[in-house]
């Protein structure tokens, strides 16, 4: 639904703390037990005294400026080769279809990361997105954190613009492993196999902002309550309209509550976590593709619909996402092993007006069903030797109710794919990646490239399409410095 950029591990933390990458990361961006604690402590650990600080009459700090700002560059390059060249979209003239694409860079970010004061830390990211071809505000996480003298209770407040970006485990959310580009290249990119997912993964930068409070007890029990509001990029008006919304997008209505609980246990070289989360969203959908017929009907009723515009009267879909996630890590002196994943079940109650086509200018309903459900299952296993060589295997399967009006084709949102990845990591901040994504099922009647006549009017005869047409080789480079 929205293209949220995954976050990255950053060298400024190493510069600030003096710690090696492996103190916080098994293999970036996956966190170790200590890395989780560092993040929950608001990124504040430092051995460097402030360059400038000021103290008031009560000997309390009123200013704390570090001697070096924690700036980093994060860059990803990707070369993708598809099993089959995507169809010609150059209308009305034929274009030259290629079966590969070079994203150079796929993503280029500038990040400030680190302590702002002794109890406040921040992650502020500005990203050039190669596929969008634009620069924009990316992930933001600003934290206040404190702890009891005996360190048993750590608590904090986070303000962020990406639901799950604040999370510290890697089985679910924005830091789910595999983390290299599987979203942007395999599912949202040129190949665009229709890999629909829950709204939990879709509330990102440019769409929402939220505030949450959390406690972490005894390095084991975590509890968080957050609420997210629409914070649509490009508009400073409280009104949500086609100026700020993308076609087939939308915005959060009022506040979306999110609760997260997790239990972690660390012993020896092992760490295991099991967690759950619940999210409830009132979602204002925006108009997607408008057919000539719909436009004419709308005109008759005195309306003009443009893609991105909300429906009149304001229609609201209600989403409830319940998830279970888990993670096991073995972080030994030579070997790293990880096993993580999640199951998310989503219930989507569609607006009556959109199901019964009673909104202004309606010529046909938007959804086939009053209620749709979606279940996503992801499991990943990874292994690294000496933090230099390794790889992972990941399996994702999504199933759900068939809704032909919402999804097109046969209406099924189902998809299933595996990611196989080999990594060579000469340095922890410089990683070569060879990835192969294999698709068994893609959404919309196994229609590769998410074809619809609306998108590809010149390619009605793209013959013998099958899910495996989306299979993709990715050669990637990921560096942070």
């Amino acid at each position: 639904m929205l293209a949220a950029q995954p976050a990255r591990a950053v060298p400024p933390f190493a510069r600030q703390t003096g710690l090696a990458c492996e103190a916080c990361h098994t293999m970036p961006p996956e966190l170790t037990a200590f890395g989780r604690r560092f993040k929950l402590s608001g990124y504040t650990l430092t051995t460097r005294p402030p360059l400038v600080n000021d103290i008031d009459d009560h000997k309390k700090d009123t200013l704390f400026l570090t001697d070096l700002p924690g700036i980093a560059v994060l860059a990803q390059m990707g070369y993708d080769h598809y099993n089959r060249a995507p169809p010609d979209t150059g209308q009305p003239y034929p274009a030259h279809a290629q079966s590969d694409t070079f994203q150079f860079p796929d993503q280029f970010s500038l990040v400030y990361a680190g302590a702002v004061s002794d109890k406040v830390g921040a992650w502020l990211q500005l990203t050039y997105n190669g596929q969008a071809g634009s620069v924009g505000i990316d992930n933001i996480d600003i934290r206040y954190s404190d702890h009891t003298v005996d360190n048993k209770w750590v608590w904090g407040v986070t303000a962020n613009n990406y639901l799950t970006f604040q999370d510290v485990w890697n089985g679910i959310g924005s830091y789910t492993i595999p983390n290299f580009n599987t979203v942007t290249l395999s599912s949202g990119g040129v190949a665009g196999a229709g890999t629909s997912g829950p709204i939990l993964n879709a509330l990102g930068p440019g769409s929402v902002a939220g505030i949450g409070a959390y406690v972490f007890y005894n390095d084991s029990l975590y509890f968080e309550l957050s609420a997210y509001h629409s914070a649509v990029a490009g508009g400073n008006s409280p009104t949500i309209d086609s100026v700020s919304l993308a076609a087939n997008g939308g915005a959060v209505d009022r506040f979306a509550p999110y609760a997260r609980i997790a239990y972690e246990r660390d012993w020896g070289y092992h760490s295991a976590e099991i967690g759950g989360s619940a999210l409830y969203v009132n979602w204002i959908p925006s108009v997607g593709y408008i057919s000539a017929q719909q436009q004419a009907a709308a005109a008759l009723a005195g309306n003009t619909y443009t893609p991105g515009q909300t429906f009149n009267p304001g229609a609201i879909n209600r989403y409830t996402d319940l998830s279970v996630d888990w993670q096991y890590q073995y972080n030994g002196p030579y070997n790293l092993f990880g096993f993580m994943g999640h199951v998310t079940h989503e219930r989507q109650q569609n607006s009556n007006q959109l199901v019964a086509a009673t909104f202004t200018g309606a010529s046909s309903p938007i959804y086939s069903n009053p209620t749709d459900t979606l279940t996503q299952f992801l499991v990943t296993g990874e292994y690294f030797r000496n933090r230099h060589y390794g790889g992972l295997v990941s399996f994702t399967r999504t199933t759900g109710t068939s809704d032909p009006l919402a999804n097109g084709g046969n209406g099924s949102p189902a998809n299933q794919y595996e990611t196989f990845e080999l990594d060579y990591v000469p340095w922890l901040n410089f990683r070569f990646i060879l990835q192969y994504d294999v698709y068994q099922v893609v959404a919309n009647n196994q229609n590769p490239f998410n074809l619809s006549n609306a998108n590809f009017p010149n390619s009605p005869g793209f013959p013998n399409v099958k899910a495996s047409d989306n299979n993709t080789w990715v050669l990637g480079l990921w560096m942070d410095f």
Binding site: A23, A33, T47, R48, D150
Partner: protein, 218 residues
Amino acid sequence: MRKLAIASVDIAAGIAAIALAAMAVRDAYSATLIVPPDPSTMGTQNLVNNACSKCHGENGISVSPLFPILAGQLPGYIEAELKLFRLRARSDPRARAFMWGIARGLTDEQIKGVAQYFSSQPAVHGSASSNAALADKGKLLYESGKPELDIEACTVCHGHDGEGVNTQPRLAGQHRDYVAIQMSQYRLGLRENKVMQHVTEKLTDDEIAALVEYISTK
């Protein structure tokens, strides 16, 4: 930036501004140089608050067994280890990942201050074992060693109740997991110490488990 500023005023004023700026620079050179403080200028309490306490706790009692409990640890041992970290002469994986960087800029005074701070925090003690037979086996080994394998009693270096001796660490009250991992790292040669490497190479897994069990009761 400077070009923009000059462009916004007339040329004469611009020249004057440059001349003033040059004077300011010259004056700055003649004044006392103020350099950014070295990281090593952090006082003990600041160091504890901003760095040590994040893992070891403000009171020296770490929550996670990844990190040793320092409360009541002997100052001589803390000092010796911090100096080893600073020299990069202790290179077990966690020392490399965490302590090399933390200790890199510490002065002798800071090391002394931190050592004093943690050693003066109230010590903690272990709890009774749920496996008395194993703990008894450990007690025997701890107190008598294994002369036939040239292993002295642990008491010689670690004291009768694991309280430590001079620069040899206090073991009493330490996280069981932490002790177990140190033993395995000595055996793997990842943590350097001739005596402990010898001991862990000669002892069996069961014997090491027994020792760890016994220590956890102290």
